[in-house]
């Protein structure tokens, strides 16, 4: 085990997979000489050359389409879209082409494309550079959606995505890049999709925390413990596929659930998770299913306004406390 950052974990995985398989390439805006606008691709262009690490024009439709066509011909492209907010620029290529190519062909097209994309609010980046787009794409069959929250998961889930057979939207939260954690040394270390992680065991309330909200949920659980409330924190790790079993087991144990994400509340990932819990475990609930999420407005620029709109540690603590105390 080594302790490295989330950003380093992603960089290392790309480096290892590119060294292992000549079919793995990286294409995107500023991924080469710049090293990635978030610094994630670093020196990959020096290690693998401009042929395999390609800077593209600012041209999201062409980037996704190029990844898809190259994948059909046998490559395993990693394509980087700089901000989740830019995914809709390539809307057709993602929703109608990438997601559906396999199915429309009767299962014959192969589309191993990993779309690395940054998500979440880095602070005063305002309405077009701060969004959490995970939920938008959960409604599109054919895509897989990974939301790594720790360096080990960033590494292990990315490896699964690159070696897999399907298009994956791999959401990297900007505020997690500098976070550190232990990562196994095994060069084949991979985290399977569809297996949630219980990050903290608890008895009174389940807090399901997605992506960048995990550190906040863990901080909230610590504060709740100080008040005598035992919170269990579950990290789904992938939203498609979703590990229903782990979530349901936790909810059955605690009888209460708070779902936390940075995406907007209305039809965010929590809406699907809440509906799933209602369908499959409502009889075990001792209170309403609670969602803590961004308010339903575009993200504002002002720090005061942004803080008001985004969910924080205190929001989680208050909601969980009220739920456990029977005040909801």
């Amino acid at each position: 085990m080594r302790t490295i950052t989330y950003s380093q974990a992603i960089y290392e995985t790309m480096r290892e997979e590119m060294a292992r398989d000549p079919n793995v390439i990286l294409i995107g805006e500023d991924v080469g000489a710049f090293g990635g606008v978030w610094g994630v691709s670093g020196d990959l262009v020096k290690l693998f050359g401009e042929d395999r690490v390609r800077d593209t024009p600012i041209s999201e439709t062409a980037i996704i389409g190029a990844g898809l066509g190259a994948a059909m011909m046998g490559l395993r492209p990693i394509v980087e879209i700089m901000f989740a907010d830019f995914l809709p620029v390539a809307g057709d290529q993602i929703v109608n082409q990438l997601a559906k190519a396999r199915y429309m062909s009767g299962g014959k097209a192969r589309v191993p494309v990993t779309v690395r994309v940054t998500t979440g609010a880095p602070g005063s980046a305002a309405a077009q550079h701060s969004q959490s787009a995970e939920g938008w794409y959960m409604n599109v069959p054919g895509l897989k959606i990974a939301v790594p929250a720790t360096p080990a998961d960033a590494k292990g889930l990315l490896r699964t995505a690159i070696r897999g057979e399907d298009p994956v939207l791999f959401f990297e939260h900007k505020m997690l890049y500098a976070t550190k954690g232990e990562v196994p040394d095994d060069p084949d270390f991979a985290v399977p999709f569809g297996q949630a992680a219980v990050r903290r065991e608890g008895a009174d309330v389940t807090v399901i925390a997605i992506g960048g909200m995990l550190p906040k949920a863990l901080a909230a659980a610590e504060m709740l413990a100080g008040e005598g409330i035992s919170a269990e924190v579950v990290d789904p790790r992938t939203l498609v596929p979703l590990d229903k079993d782990t979530i349901i087991a936790s909810v059955r144990k605690t009888g209460r659930v708070v779902i936390v994400h940075e995406a907007h509340k209305r039809l965010g990932p929590g809406a699907e998770i809440a509906a799933m819990i209602a369908e499959e475990a409502i009889g075990y609930l001792d209170g309403p299913i609670v969602r803590v999420a961004a308010r339903n407005v575009p993200l504002p620029y002002s720090p005061e306004l942004e803080n008001f709109v985004l969910p924080g540690v205190n929001d989680i603590v208050e909601k969980a406390r009220d739920l456990v105390r029977g005040r909801l």
């Binding site: 390439i25 294409i27 042929d51 395999r52 390609r54 593209t56 024009p57 041209s59 439709t61 062409a62 996704i64 389409g65 190029a66 990844g67 898809l68 066509g69 190259a70 994948a71 059909m72 011909m73 046998g74 490559l75 492209p77 057709d92 290529q93 109608n96 082409q97 190519a101 396999r102 199915y103 429309m104 062909s105 009767g106 299962g107 014959k108 097209a109 192969r110 589309v111 191993p112 069959p141 054919g142 897989k144 897999g164 057979e165 399907d166 399977p192 999709f193 569809g194 498609v240 596929p241 979703l242 590990d243 229903k244």
Partner: protein, 330 residues
């Protein structure tokens, strides 16, 4: 080019393929009316020379992307009318097992990366295929068919820009049939010759008579040679005409009978037949034999589709993903 510059084998190949495309479309239209085919048909009647001329310049290892008006492209690239008809009839034996239909037929073994329901949707995909060929230093090319309407989509411009920038082995093949759905090209673009759009992407732009299969073949052959030599992409604009509606059932109130009659006089299939008889000296009986052969092939295709099973309902759930993680993705 004159027909005298081509071997008889080649000329008869062109004619057979064009006649097959034409008759496949007419059969499909009839079978749709008769109830065998449940979905849309956007027929390519009148555009046989573009599909056949372009694909004749390709090798079997080259690939194409196609459009909503794609039956001709598929046949010209080697698609089997049996599996195409079965797909149109939504049968398990069809190219996509009944999951794609007319708008999404593909055969990866034949290098057919898919028809496409989205105008310009296939163009960036062809660029990606070209990227893979360049990356692996393979001498293959990707040819993307699209219509005049697609050249007004952003995807067209992004794809040409990237291919021009990276000198990818891609042929951008525009079938300018003068109409984007029900609106004439003159009301959709401020330029008459769409080939000039190539200039912005540092590639040659060529306009050819799209109803002349030999002109189409020569232009495509030059573009393919250029691409294989590593010199990059070409935009070909082939001017042609969609003789039927945008889709079967289109009332076609937006164009005149005089215009349609004029283009019927320039029908590519009838025109080539006449040239084979008059200029190449091929006997009528030889041509008639090819036509009979094609009709028999199509009888067989329809019979195959009719006899093929419809898919079991629950098979709708298969084939979304390569890895299903034990069924978790559903």
């Amino acid at each position: 080019m004159s027909v005298k510059d081509y071997s008889k084998t080649m000329l008869l190949h062109f004619y057979r393929q064009m006649y097959l495309v034409r008759e496949f479309e007419l059969r499909a239209i009839n079978e749709r009316r008769a109830g065998l085919i449940p979905g849309f048909i956007h027929s390519c009647v009148g555009q046989e020379a573009t599909a056949v001329g372009a694909c004749a310049a390709l090798e079997p290892t080259d690939v194409i992307t196609s459009t909503h008006r794609g039956h001709g492209h598929l046949i010209a690239k080697g698609g089997d009318p049996k599996y195409m008809m079965a797909e149109l009839a939504a049968r398990t034996t069809g190219y996509c097992g009944g999951k794609g239909g007319s708008l999404h037929m593909s055969d990866f073994d034949l290098g057919i990366l898919g028809a496409n329901g989205i105008v310009a949707g296939g163009i960036p995909i062809a660029v990606g295929a070209g990227l893979a060929f360049q990356q692996r230093k393979e001498r293959r090319v990707a040819l993307s068919f699209f219509g005049d309407g697609a050249t007004n989509e952003g995807a067209f411009h992004e794809a040409l820009n990237l291919a021009g920038l990276w000198k990818l082995p891609v042929i951008f093949f525009c079938e300018n049939n003068l109409y984007g759905e029900g609106t004439p090209q003159a009301k959709q673009a401020p330029v008459a010759d769409l080939a000039i759009r190539a200039a912005g992407y540092a590639m040659p732009g060529v306009t050819v008579d799209g109803n002349d299969v030999l002109a189409v073949y020569e232009a495509t052959r030059a573009a393919v040679e250029r691409a294989r030599a590593g010199l990059g992409p070409t935009l070909i604009e082939a001017k042609t005409y969609r003789q039927r509606g945008h889709y079967e059932g289109d009332p076609m109130v937006y164009r005149s009978k005089a215009e349609m009659d004029e283009w019927k006089r320039r029908d590519p299939v009838v025109g080539l037949r006449g040239r084979l008889l008059a200029e190449a000296g091929i006997p009528e009986a030889e041509i008639a034999a090819i036509e009979q052969d094609v009709q028999a092939l199509l009888d067989e295709a329809v019979a195959f589709a009719v006899a093929s099973p419809k898919p079991a309902a629950e098979t709708a759930l298969a084939g979304v993903y390569g890895d299903t993680h034990g069924g978790l993705v559903f």
